[in-house]
Amino acid sequence: MREILEILARDGHATPERIATMTDIPEQTVRERISAWEAAGIIRRYRAVVDWDRYHSAGPTDLPETITAFIDVSLVPARGVGFDDVAARISRFPEVRSVYLVSGSQDLRCTVTGTSLREVSEFVSQKLSTIDRIRATATHFVLKTYKRDGDAFIEPETDHRLPVVP
C-alpha cells in the first residue's frame, strides 16, 4: 500500500487506474485507499513542483519574483511547552513556508517568502522579532535555488544512448 503513496508523491497526476496497473492492486482498492488517506490528512494536497527561477528568467512575467529567506530564531523556552507554543504561533503566518526545531546554536529554522527584500525584512522585524520570548533572529536571503525537496533545478542530462542497440 505504501507503494501507492510513493507513486503519488512523485506524480500527483497518476490516476487510480494507472496506479492499479503499476502495482497490481485492484483499482477499487486504490481509490478507497486514496480517499481514506485524503480524509485522514495523510495525503494533504496535490501540487506542482515549479522552478520559479526558470519561470522568471524566461522573460517579463505577470508575477512579481518570489524572495525566499531562511530565518534562524533563538527562543526562550517556557515551562511545560518548551518551544511548541511559539513555533505554532510563527507557523500561522502565511509568509512562513516551513518551521523546524533544530539542534545547534539557534532553536528554530524557518523559511519565509515575500515579493521583495523589504517585505521579508519588514515581516522579520515587525512580526517575528516582536513575538514574546524570541531572543534573536538571523536572516539569510536565498540567492539561487539549485535543489529543493529532492528536485534538482539543473539542466537535465542528455540521453547519450544510440537509438537501436542489441
Binding site: T23, E157, P163, V164, P166
Partner: protein
C-alpha cells in the same frame, strides 16, 4: 590481397544496423530499440569514478581485477544466491559480459565442437561461438509456453561433439525468466551428457515475478558452470565496460591466462566505480527495479490493449509481443512502423528464427514516451 579470416567474413553484420541508420536520421523517433537503461549511472557511482580519476587511478590493476571488487562480487553471489566462489581463484573481472563470454567459449571449445544455444537469444551468442572455432547449434523456444527451455528439444540436439549449452535468464530479447525446476532439469541433462553450462546472468537483478535462480548455485551445477554477470543493466553502467566471470578453478585459470594477454585488465576507474556500486548503491538499484516493474505492467497491458499478444516478461526490460495479427513479418513491421509512426523497435528475427513474428520493445524508456509509443503503434495497427 590474401583473403581475410573466413569465419568472421562469413558472419553477417548485425541485422539491427539498418534500423539504427534510419532511426538516427529522424528527430521525432521514440526508440524502444535500446538495450540499455534510460537511467544514467547512480550519481554516487559516477562520483566514485571522478574521485578515482582525480586520485590517479589511471594504471593497470592486477589481471584478475581489484581484489576488493572480486571480494564484493563473490560476497554478493554467496549472499544473494548461495553461489560460493573464491575471490582468489574463481573470479575474473572482465570488460563486461561480452568479454567474459568470449573468454569462456575460447577456453572451452576445440575447433568444430558444438554449443547448444536456445533461441531467441542475444545476438552475440552464436557469432561468439563461431569466432571461438565452435559451431552454434540453435534450438527453438516458443512464445506459447513463455519461452521455457524444452529439455526434450535440447537433448535431441546433443551429439558427441556437443561441449556446452549457453543460456541467458532473464533473457534478452524475450524477458523470459527460467524457473528453478527447469534450470535444475537443465543441470541434470548437462550432468547426464557431461556438458558445460554457460549462464549469462547480466539481468539477474531485474526480475519482477519471482526470485532469480543462479544456475551455478543449483545442486551439481558448480563444477560445470561458467557464470557471467556484470554491472551494466542493474547499475546502469553499460559504458563502463565492467563485469565478471566466475567459474571452477581450471576454467577460471585459463580464462585469466587469456584475459591477461588479450585485455590485461578491466578499466581501473570502472572497477573502482563498480566497488562503489556494490558497496553502497543498493537503494538506487532497488528503486530502478521498482520503476522498471511499474513501466512493465503499464506497457505490457498497453500492448495487449492495442491487440498484440504479449507473453508475460518476468525479467530484464523487454517485452516481446507477437505481431502476427498484423499479417506482416517482423522486419517489414519494424521498418513500416519506423517510417510511418517514428517508433523504433527491433524485429524479432534478428534474435533467431523463433523470434520471427515478434518484435522486441524495450521499456527502459520514460513512461510518457512509452504511452506515446503505444498510441502511435495503435494508429499503425489500425492502418495495417
Amino acid at each position: 590481397m590474401k583473403p581475410l579470416n573466413s569465419v568472421i567474413s562469413a558472419c553477417p553484420p548485425s541485422g539491427i544496423r539498418r534500423f539504427f541508420d534510419i532511426a538516427a536520421q529522424r528527430a521525432d523517433v521514440i526508440s524502444l530499440g535500446v538495450g540499455e537503461p534510460d537511467f544514467v549511472t547512480p550519481w554516487r557511482v559516477r562520483e566514485a569514478g571522478i574521485y578515482a580519476l582525480e586520485h590517479g587511478a589511471t594504471t593497470y590493476t592486477s589481471n584478475a581485477g581489484l581484489l576488493k571488487l572480486r571480494e564484493l562480487v563473490c560476497a554478493e553471489l554467496a549472499g544473494r544466491y548461495g553461489a560460493e566462489y573464491a575471490p582468489d581463484g574463481n573470479c575474473v573481472i572482465t570488460a563486461g559480459v561480452s568479454e567474459g563470454l568470449d573468454l569462456t567459449l575460447r577456453v572451452l571449445l576445440e575447433p568444430g565442437e558444438e554449443v547448444i544455444v536456445p533461441e531467441p537469444c542475444y545476438v552475440a551468442y552464436q557469432p561468439c561461438v563461431s569466432f571461438a572455432g565452435g559451431r552454434p547449434v540453435p534450438v527453438p523456444t516458443s512464445a506459447e509456453d513463455g519461452f521455457r527451455l524444452r529439455m526434450d528439444v535440447i537433448e535431441a540436439a546433443v551429439t558427441e561433439r556437443t561441449k556446452a549449452i549457453l543460456i541467458g535468464s532473464p533473457a534478452n530479447p524475450t524477458g523470459a525468466v527460467q524457473t528453478r525446476e527447469d534450470l535444475a532439469a537443465l543441470v541434470a541433462l548437462a550432468v547426464k551428457h557431461d556438458l558445460y553450462l554457460i549462464s549469462d546472468e547480466i539481468y539477474d537483478r531485474l526480475t519482477y515475478t519471482g526470485a532469480h535462480t543462479c544456475l551455478s548455485a543449483l545442486p551439481g551445477a558448480m563444477e560445470r558452470t561458467v557464470l557471467l554477470g556484470g554491472f551494466s543493466k542493474a547499475h546502469a553502467m553499460t559504458g563502463w565496460r565492467v563485469g565478471y566471470l566466475c567459474a571452477p578453478r581450471p576454467i577460471a585459470d585459463l580464462a585469466l591466462r587469456m584475459h591477461q594477454y588479450t585485455m590485461l585488465c578491466a578499466p581501473h576507474v570502472s572497477q573502482l566505480a563498480a566497488v562503489e556500486a556494490l558497496s553502497s548503491a543498493g537503494d538506487e538499484v532497488d528503486e530502478m527495479v521498482a520503476d522498471y516493474d511499474r513501466r512493465r505492467r503499464v506497457f505490457v497491458k498497453g500492448l495487449r490493449e492495442i491487440g498484440l499478444d504479449c507473453p508475460e516478461p518476468g525479467g530484464a526490460f523487454y517485452a516481446f509481443p507477437s505481431i502476427r495479427s498484423s499479417g506482416l513479418d517482423s522486419e517489414t513491421f519494424a521498418e513500416r512502423l519506423l517510417h510511418s509512426e517514428g517508433v523504433a523497435v527491433v524485429p524479432g528475427n534478428v534474435f533467431g528464427a523463433p523470434g520471427e513474428g515478434h518484435i522486441r520493445c524495450s521499456y527502459a524508456t520514460a513512461l510518457p514516451l512509452l504511452e506515446e509509443a503505444l498510441e502511435r503503434m495503435a494508429r499503425f495497427l489500425r492502418q495495417t
